[in-house]
Assembly symmetry: C2
Homo-oligomer: 365 residues x 2
């Protein structure tokens, strides 16, 4: 087992990474203050891991909420099901919520914890690669609104994150690939040596070699933790973590939540950001080619779906949270391992990029 600490002063917390951690009470118990625990999970994950986690937490009074599975359920209505279960069970302020599942379960449970009785504790037990390398660090919680993704939420840090890498054995290939998109992102935005390591080890990741996966997860969390520690509330540099996300969210929203996986949107979005950076002359052809090749090697889409016209893209991107006073800011590349957040780009480069990718054929997920 490896342990990483996310340093956030009095809100610091550990991330434990290793095999079989789901069965180890010592990873959980020290972080649960009261007697009452509510595990929130979904219909896919519950049959696989719920009983094991309940057994591990048998020293507490444990209740369960099982949500439907899918990004399309990450909304206020599903959130309200958690509130109702907590209130019906008379859960008080010293209760602890445990999110067992992927990013949707983690985000919605985190926001329920942030807002139930104005804030209770929660633990994360992410069971998908994407949630392990993304939602484990940063404290972003929330739900979607029909008009925009993650538009409702809060910053709320977990007390602890437990990543049992064995849970990846049950993950469908498509979701494994989607998780790798976020892993590649860390290399691209701030860790060129990791990008190069990924170029070497993509086969091992796709073959789910435990050591390779554990290393990629640990390094991703470390990279993210460093960026977050510098800027917890996302007033500046932290926004580089959104490389590919403004484009990606537009794809997800435009296609309807759940049609494209989040990681797939981010993958296509990262290549779009690289293309635009190339167009601006900020990276060279070789860097663009390597970016695209790594995304493709991970079995991920390199272009958005042809259904989304450039105009539709612009419209969808205008509600992005990085828009300030009406000005669109994008995360772009100054090189592999060096991302910047900026509104200072020639708008024609964006338009031309949207037109260019609209003509590409290898879209689709």
């Amino acid at each position: 087992m490896q342990t990483l600490t996310v340093e956030l002063g009095e809100r610091s917390y550990p991330i434990h990474i290793g095999r079989g951690l789901l069965d180890d009470p010592q990873r959980f118990a020290p972080h649960i203050r009261g007697q009452r625990v509510m595990i929130v999970t979904n219909e896919t994950v519950a049959p696989l891991y719920l009983d094991r986690l309940k057994a591990t937490l048998s020293g507490f009074l444990v209740d369960t909420v099982i949500l439907p599975d899918g990004e399309e359920y990450k909304n206020l209505e599903t959130l309200n099901r958690i509130y109702t279960a907590l209130l019906e069970g008379r859960f008080d302020r010293r209760s602890t919520l445990v999110a067992l599942g992927g990013g949707v379960v983690g985000d919605i449970t985190g926001f329920a914890a942030a807002s139930y009785q104005r804030g209770v504790d929660f633990l994360q037990v992410p069971t998908t690669l994407l949630s392990q390398v993304d939602s484990s660090v940063g404290g972003k919680t929330g739900v979607n609104h029909p008009l925009g993704k993650n538009m409702i939420g809060a910053f709320h840090q977990p007390r602890c994150v437990v990543i049992d890498t064995d849970t990846l054995n049950t993950l469908p290939d498509r979701e494994l690939h989607a998780g790798i998109a976020e892993v590649i992102k860390y290399g691209l935005i701030c860790d060129r040596p990791f990008f190069e390591w990924l170029e070497e080890h993509m086969e091992g990741l796709l073959a789910r070699e435990p050591g390779t996966l554990a290393y990629a997860i640990h390094r991703s969390c470390q990279d993210k933790a460093q960026v977050v520690a510098e800027d917890e509330r996302e007033s500046g540099r932290r926004a580089i973590l959104n490389l590919g996300h403004t484009f990606g969210h537009a794809i997800e929203t435009g296609m309807g939540y759940g049609v494209w996986l989040h990681g797939e949107g981010v993958a296509a979005g990262m290549v779009m950001a690289a293309r635009m950076s190339r167009r601006l002359g900020w990276i060279d052809d070789g860097e663009l080619t390597r970016t695209e090749a790594l995304v493709r090697a991970a079995g991920l889409p390199c272009a958005p779906p042809p259904e989304l016209s450039p105009d539709r893209f612009m419209q969808l991107m205008s509600v992005d949270k990085k828009v300030l006073d009406g000005q669109l800011r994008l995360v772009l590349l100054r090189g592999i391992g060096e991302a910047v957040v900026t509104a200072e780009f020639d708008p024609r480069a964006l338009e031309e990029t949207l037109v260019e990718v609209g003509r590409m054929k290898d879209a689709g997920s």
Copy 2:
């Protein structure tokens, strides 16, 4: 104009109290960071003050959401109307929400600000006595759930509070009285000289003498600010602000939101707390009599509605946010001006108090 600063480190903010402040742009402009402002108000307040406030804020791009009026609309559905308006209007993270109205508008707008894009700024313009002396200080925001009042929310401090005492001229008597309940509360929990001042000046308050009202508002905010500054997140002493609220919330929830006004529930709840404190021998007959007399002089109920049986009370109180690990904590009195939060009381004193007030005749609101 008087100005009070709520001292909360980098979240400190001013409360301006005076006549005609609604027309003074300088009370607002320094606290608005971007160009976009969304005023949230309700159907009752909008015809009275919305145009004036819009004129005052004419230097900004101002939109409006008008909600239905009443505690029964303080829920997730109404909250979602604010999110939708913000998203339809393409409001970004640098936007400012302005709550123009009473406690319901303030609480729901504050929570919308706390959770829209994970947090934007908001200003409070409370137009009822209750909201002026209660929601102005403390940063509590939220909505109700059918199973419990204020069960969903966040701590989120406003950038500024503007109290125009002239707005009280349009307040119905019943709501004026309900506001005075919270004013009396400050005397009871931590400010015996203020309690005595209120015994002297209740007539002036009821007659809406501007100077008397302004003094009562200023002193109430000052008392509350002091308690909150000591304990922003309500881990301890701050809970004394809930004197009468555990009983009062049970009355509100039990009768259906909106049937009893919040202040009316608190009034009856404070007398219940005083009765129970008397039963425990913590205050004497004279203190109980003075408490009841002051509540009555303000035109407020001294007992709960006869519909609520002791059993129903216990059931309703068991979801209170002050319950910890299943143990009910109450705010009780050790004297006029001295409240304590405690779970250490003889449970029979609670039962007997509920039975006693159940037999009283002057209930009703």
